[in-house]
Every structure is written in structure tokens, then in C-alpha cells.
């Protein structure tokens, strides 16, 4: 970075660069422009162009007619959405499952990273890490399949263990009762991602200045004091950044696939999230406009939340994302 700027300041300014017009720079950099072009075109078409479809949320969209040839209804779709009791419940489920997954995910990943960091034998540590990454690479189809098998009432391992320990007398129908669903989503997320999430924390822990530990030791700090007073403050910037990033995902409900695969008629009131609502209204029932309205709501709230979290972090003098 500085490699280039330093000589420029000391030596006389280079007039050729300074006065070069925009278009001649464009022509000179045509290769760079061509090289960025394929992906740029792709992202504009596939990520940005569909925003045009947001107009559907302000219409009463009927398939078969072009989007410019529809009845406009203003904000009626949004009004219907927020007055609908179903959507309020969907919103509650989404936020609850997000928060549960978020908090459980953070606490377990940081905790596991701290404990892994205490293992001094590199070979064993590496082996444990490798194993802990495994579930991250499994698809949600597989993971939810494994989870439903583990929770099964016929020989599922969870019920088996709990019965052998005499904690429960009869197998519990885990996936048949709404009150367990949020917890199952949280735990499934932890099972799949906890090992993977330790990567970033372990890296942050490794970069904490070792002299701080020595100083703490001189002051007579034990293992847990050092973790509390040196390690955790040392990795705080990373925690804050990851929190900000995750706040933007709060309307994702802790993932789409879990609810889609594990949810069933009996737990619908607890399992339905915005994404599933959109899928149901949009592609199954065919009420496209309402589905799009719910999608817009989700995107807008996500961006606002991300912006707020970023601003708060800035005010507090913390590291920030943008």
C-alpha cells in the first residue's frame, strides 16, 4: 500500500497520471474492465434485476399478464400482512429461533474455542478440530435426517440415553410438540456449526499478545482469571464484528432448511418462519404479491438492523463492518 504512495509524495508529481482524463483511463484499463465484466453482468442480472419484481408487492398480481399490466393496490398487501394473525406468529417464530440460535451459537463456539485453546498437545488438538468441522460439511438434508433419527421415539439415541439415565420414563415425541421445536432448532444449529465457528475465535485467541498473559501471571492470575481478563477482552473485536454480521440475519430464523424439514403439521404454529411463509404463499398458494411483500419486509428490516448495529458499534468505538 505505502510502497507506491511514499515515492509519489517525495518526487515531483507525475503529470501524465494526474491530468489523464477519465475516458483515457477507461481505455487504458480496458483489460481490467473486461475481466470484471462477466461476474458484474452475472450479479446485475441474477441479484439486482429481480428487484424489479418488488413492484408485485404493490399490486394484486395475476399470472399471465405482464407486470406493467396489473392492478395497483398500494400498501394493501403490507396492511394485510401485519393484520394477519398468522404472520404475527410467523414473525415471532422467526425472531425467537434466530435469537436462540444466535445466543446459543455464540456462547458454545466461544466456550469451545477457549477450552480447545487449553489443549497443549497439538496433534490431539488438530484431531479434535478436524472432527468438530465434520457436521459443517454435511448438507441440511442429511443433518435434519440424522436429527430426526436421533430424536425418534423408536430407538432414537436421545430417548434411549435419557431413559437409561432414568431422567424420563417414556420416550418423548420431540418433533411432535411445539414447545420443544425452538430448542431443537437451536441445538441442531449448534451441532452443525459449533466446531466450524471456533475457527475464527481460535485464530483471534492465537493473536492475543502473549506478554499480557505473562503480566497477568506475575500478578497471580489463575487460569480462569486469565481467560476472563486477557483472552475475552482480546477477542472482543472479533465477537463484535460477528455479532453485527449476525444481526443482519435475524429474520432468517436460524436457517430455512431446518424448519422446512423438521417442521410438520403438529408443530406448525412454532415452526413456520418468514421464508417458509413466502414459499407457501408464493409458490404453493400462488398469492405472489403477498409473498413478495413478506420478502421485502425481511430484506428491508435486515438492512436496517445491520445499519443500526454498525452505527452502535461505531459509537461505542468498536470495530465495525462497513
Amino acid at each position: 500500500m505505502t510502497r507506491q504512495t511514499v515515492p509519489k509524495m517525495n518526487i515531483a508529481p507525475q503529470p501524465a497520471r494526474r491530468t489523464e482524463s477519465f475516458w483515457s483511463r477507461v481505455i487504458r484499463q480496458r483489460q481490467l474492465i473486461f475481466m470484471s465484466f462477466p461476474m458484474l453482468l452475472y450479479v446485475l442480472v441474477f441479484a439486482y434485476a429481480p428487484i424489479w419484481g418488488w413492484l408485485m408487492a404493490f399490486q394484486s398480481y395475476k399470472p399471465g399478464f405482464s407486470i406493467t399490466n396489473q392492478t395497483w393496490v398500494g400498501l394493501d398487501q403490507f396492511r394485510f400482512l401485519f393484520l394477519d394473525e398468522g404472520f404475527t406468529r410467523v414473525l415471532r417464530n422467526t425472531i425467537a429461533m434466530s435469537l436462540i440460535s444466535l445466543i446459543l451459537g455464540f456462547v458454545t463456539a466461544i466456550g469451545l474455542a477457549l477450552l480447545m485453546n487449553e489443549i497443549k498437545k497439538t496433534g490431539i488438538k488438530r484431531l479434535i478440530q478436524t472432527i468438530s468441522y465434520l457436521p459443517h460439511f454435511l448438507s441440511w438434508v442429511i443433518v435434519t435426517g440424522l436429527v430426526s433419527m436421533a430424536l425418534s421415539t423408536e430407538g432414537g439415541i436421545i430417548n434411549d440415553v435419557l431413559m437409561k439415565l432414568h431422567i424420563i420414563k417414556e420416550p418423548i415425541l420431540w418433533l411432535g410438540e411445539g414447545k420443544y421445536f425452538w430448542g431443537i432448532v437451536g441445538m441442531t444449529n449448534v451441532w452443525k456449526e459449533v466446531g466450524w465457528n471456533t475457527i475464527i475465535y481460535l485464530a483471534a485467541i492465537a493473536s492475543v499478545d502473549p506478554s499480557l498473559y505473562e503480566a497477568a501471571e506475575v500478578d497471580g492470575a489463575g487460569r480462569f482469571r486469565k481467560i476472563w481478563n486477557v483472552t475475552l477482552p482480546g477477542i472482543r473485536p472479533v465477537i463484535v464484528i460477528l455479532l453485527i454480521m449476525n444481526v443482519g440475519w435475524i429474520l432468517n430464523g436460524g436457517g430455512f432448511d431446518i424448519q422446512y424439514f423438521l417442521g410438520n403439521g403438529q408443530v406448525l404454529d412454532w415452526s413456520e418462519t418468514i421464508d417458509i411463509f413466502v414459499l407457501k404463499y408464493g409458490l404453493r398458494i400462488g398469492n405472489y404479491s403477498l409473498g413478495v411483500a413478506a420478502g421485502i419486509f425481511k430484506t428491508v428490516v435486515s438492512i436496517v438492523l445491520l445499519y443500526c448495529a454498525n452505527t452502535i458499534a461505531k459509537r461505542l468505538g468498536e470495530e465495525r463492518l462497513i
Binding site: 477519465f22 458484474l40 460439511f137 433419527m149 466446531g195
Partner: protein
Amino acid sequence: MQTVRYKFKTEPFLFHTFNYLFMLFVVVVTLYPFLNTLAISFNSGIDTTRGGIYVWPREWTLKNYVAVFQSGKVFDAFWVSVARTVIGTVVSVFLTAMLAYTISRKEFIFRKPVTLIFVLTMYFSAGLIPSYFLIKDLNLLNTFLVYILFPGAGAGLISAFNMLVVRTYIRSLPESLVESAKIDGASDFKVFISIILPLCTPVLATIALFTAVGQWNSWFDTFIFASSRQELSTLQYELMKLLSSTVNSNANPSLSSTAAKDTATMITPLSIRAAITIVASVPILFVYPFLQRHFVSGLQLGGVKE
């Protein structure tokens, strides 16, 4: 000897004992569901229904796997999954690296807007329904191309995160490499192909792994965009159909019902399901441990902000 040199201390001993026990617990909880499925996949299906299969098969058999691969559906789906993973990953990694090179060049006049356009996609999406209409309008419904192009979770041609990882890596390379090549008259494209690309191998391996995992594990795009053409079905989608049919116990006309009847071959829906789960997960599980060093450092690069 050791007890003489280091005085025995209670606290470290207790702590490490607890810590190792806890790690053992983590390892068991992580591996058990997978090992259990592995055991069931190698166990005779009828025998499995008697229960009590944990991590070791009781009646060894390969019939579950034979049944899986004899079913043309799963066999075809396997190759569609392989094709989308290979093609999707190669195209995506090459184009991502090329894009990352352009935004790593400080002098590139569109560097900031181009970077912003991609980073924004990390936080917003137009949503499922508008995307569906786009795919439909582009006549991509029920085509193989939709697997490469649909920007869904994990899949898609580009992830802004991967782009940032490669960008940061390219910036960490010595600038003099590019400068001297340019003095020798090399164009940007030439510099990228002959200098940057070879040097980026570790980071490209990382994003190739991420992209390949996304492609291999994807089921949603098949479900939404290509479910009406059986020859485009993927392994994950076949597994998903099988799972939902066994969970809801409304018979899937293909595998599970023939399997349910087939007591002669000792196959059950559960054992078929276990075998497909293994087939669908093993390719990636064989690859990731070898790339561990790379993706660990790659993830850290991605955390570096602009």
C-alpha cells in the same frame, strides 16, 4: 522423573482431566449420528428393525448399497451432482479469482463501485418469488444451467465472501511481481493468468472447497426450478424425497415402497436412507481434512474488512 521435575498440582490436573473428558463428549456427540448411520448402511435392513445397532453392524451386508446403485434414479442423480459440482466450481473459482484480481488493483477506476455491488449482495436478496420469475423469464426452468447460475444459499456463481478472501490474499502478495511483469509489457490478463493464478493455489483450493460443498449439498434449486425433470435430479434431492416419504410415511412410488416389500433382499427404507446418506456425504468428508490448513487461514482472510 516427571513428578520430580514438575511438582504435582491439583488445579491443572483436575482442569485437564475435565477438559479432555469434555472434548471426548464433544467428539462422541459429533461423530455418533454419522457412525450410527454408517453402521446401519452396512447392516441387514430387516435386522436393523430389531434395534440395538449403534456404531457397529451386526449382520454385515452390502445389499443396501447395491440396491441404491441399482436404482437408476440414484445412480443418475449421483452423476448430476458430480457434474454440477465440478462445472459449477471450476467456472465459479476462475471467474471469482479474475474479479478478485481486478478489485485488488489499486489503480482500477471502478474498484470501489464494483466491490460495493458485490458486498451488498451478502445482505440483501430480491427474494424467492422475483428470482423465480427471473429464472422463468430467462427460460432456465428445468435446465442444468440453473444449478450453475441460481444465486441460492451456498451455491451460485459467486459469493462475495469468497471474492473478498481471494482479494485479500492477492493483496498480500508482493506488488513487485505485478509491477515487473507489467514493465516487461505483460497485460493485466497475462499477469493474472501466469503470475497471480499459480500463486493463489492455496486460497483457490479454499474457495473451491466452499463452492463445491455448496453445489454438492444443494437441494433447494432442484426442488424449486428443476423438479419436473427426473434426469436433472440430484443426490441431495433424491435423499430429500426419500426422507420426506419415510417421515410422512406416504409411500414414495420408487425406492422406499419397493424396498418395504422386498423382505427377500432384507432391505428397508431406513437402510436405503442410511446408504444414500453415506453416499451423499462421503465424497466431501474425504476431501476436507486435507484442505484444513488452507480453509482455516482462508476464513481468517475473509474476516479482514476493506
